[in-house]
C-alpha cells in the first residue's frame, strides 16, 4: 500500500514540477508549484514527518505561494510567446547539464542504503511535534531565536526595497 501511495505522489510531484517549468503562463506555473508542494508534503507524511508535512503546507503552499501569486498578479504579466525561440544552443546546453547533474547524483547514490542502519524503531516517533519541540527548544534554542531575528530583518528589508519612493521619483523627472 505504501508503495502505491509513494508512486502516485512521486508521479504527481515530478509531473507538476515539469508542468511548472514548461508552462508559459506564470500563474499556471505558480499553481503547479502549489500542487508540487502539497504532494511533497504527502511524501513527508509517508516518511513519518508529520510536523514538517503540516509546516510545508502552511508555510510553503500557504504563505510563500500566496506571496508569489500576489506579486504575479500585481505585475500583471502577459504569457510568454514561446519558451523555445532563439538561442537553441542554450537549451541544449541546459538539458545536457541537467542530465549530467542527474546522473552524477544518481551515481553517488549507489549503495547508500547499505550505509544506513536497519530501520530503527524510533522512526515512528522521530517526526512528531513532541520530538521536534523537545530538541528545538533545548539544544537549538539559540538558532531558533536567530531565526526570529532573520525573519524580522527580512520583512524590514523587503519593505525598504519595495517601497515606492515618491520624492526620489519626482527629483529624477
Amino acid at each position: 500500500m505504501d508503495t502505491f501511495i509513494f508512486i502516485f505522489l512521486a508521479v504527481l510531484t515530478i509531473g507538476s514540477g515539469l508542468g511548472m517549468v514548461l508552462n508559459k503562463n506564470t500563474v499556471n506555473s505558480a499553481l503547479f508549484l502549489v500542487l508540487n508542494m502539497v504532494s511533497i508534503a504527502g511524501i513527508y507524511l509517508l516518511l513519518q514527518a508529520q510536523f514538517l508535512a503540516l509546516i510545508q503546507i502552511l508555510v510553503y503552499a500557504g504563505a510563500i505561494m500566496v506571496l508569489f501569486l500576489f506579486v504575479i498578479m500585481l505585475l500583471n504579466l502577459d504569457d510568454e510567446k514561446s519558451l523555445f525561440n532563439k538561442m537553441r544552443a542554450k537549451y541544449v546546453f541546459a538539458f545536457f547539464l541537467g542530465v549530467i547533474t542527474l546522473s552524477l547524483i544518481l551515481y553517488s547514490l549507489e549503495g547508500v542504503a547499505d550505509l544506513l542502519p536497519e530501520i530503527s524503531p524510533e522512526m515512528e516517533t522521530a517526526g512528531t511535534v513532541e520530538a521536534l519541540g523537545d530538541v528545538l527548544y533545548t539544544d537549538y534554542l539559540f538558532a531558533f531565536e536567530m531565526t526570529a531575528i532573520l525573519l524580522t530583518a527580512a520583512v524590514v528589508g523587503a519593505l525598504m526595497i519595495a517601497q515606492y519612493k515618491k520624492s526620489n521619483n519626482g527629483a529624477s523627472e
Binding site: M37, I55, E80, I105, V112, L116, A126, G127
Partner: protein, 100 residues
C-alpha cells in the same frame, strides 16, 4: 517499507527539474519558483535521511531551512518588484545594467 534510494532518486529528479528550469526560463519569477523547487528537493533528502536514521536533527535543519526560504522569498520578490518598477520587465535578459 520503501527503500531510501527511491526517496533520494525522487529528490535528485526534482533538483534536476529545478536546475533546468533556472537555466532555460527567462521570467525572473519562474526562475525564483524553480529555486524553491530545488530547496524542496534538498529538504526531502534531509527528511528521508532523518527518518531512516530515527534521528530528529535532520528535521530541525529542515525547519530552519524553511524559515530561510521564507525570508529569501520575501526579499527576492521585493527585488523583482523594484526591478519591474524601474525597468518595466521581469525578463532577466533585459536586466543588464551591470553588464560591461
Amino acid at each position: 517499507m520503501i527503500e531510501i534510494d527511491w526517496y533520494l532518486a525522487l529528490s535528485a529528479v526534482l533538483f534536476t527539474i529545478g536546475l533546468i528550469g533556472v537555466l532555460i526560463r527567462r521570467n525572473a519569477i519562474v526562475i525564483f519558483m524553480c529555486v524553491e523547487l530545488m530547496l524542496n528537493a534538498v529538504n526531502l533528502t534531509l527528511i528521508s535521511f532523518s527518518s531512516y536514521h530515527g534521528d530528529v536533527t535532520g528535521q530541525i535543519l529542515v525547519f530552519f531551512s524553511l524559515a530561510v526560504a521564507a525570508a529569501e522569498a520575501v526579499i527576492g520578490l521585493a527585488i523583482i518588484l523594484a526591478i519591474f518598477r524601474n525597468n518595466i520587465s521581469v525578463d532577466i535578459t533585459k536586466v543588464n545594467l551591470l553588464r560591461w
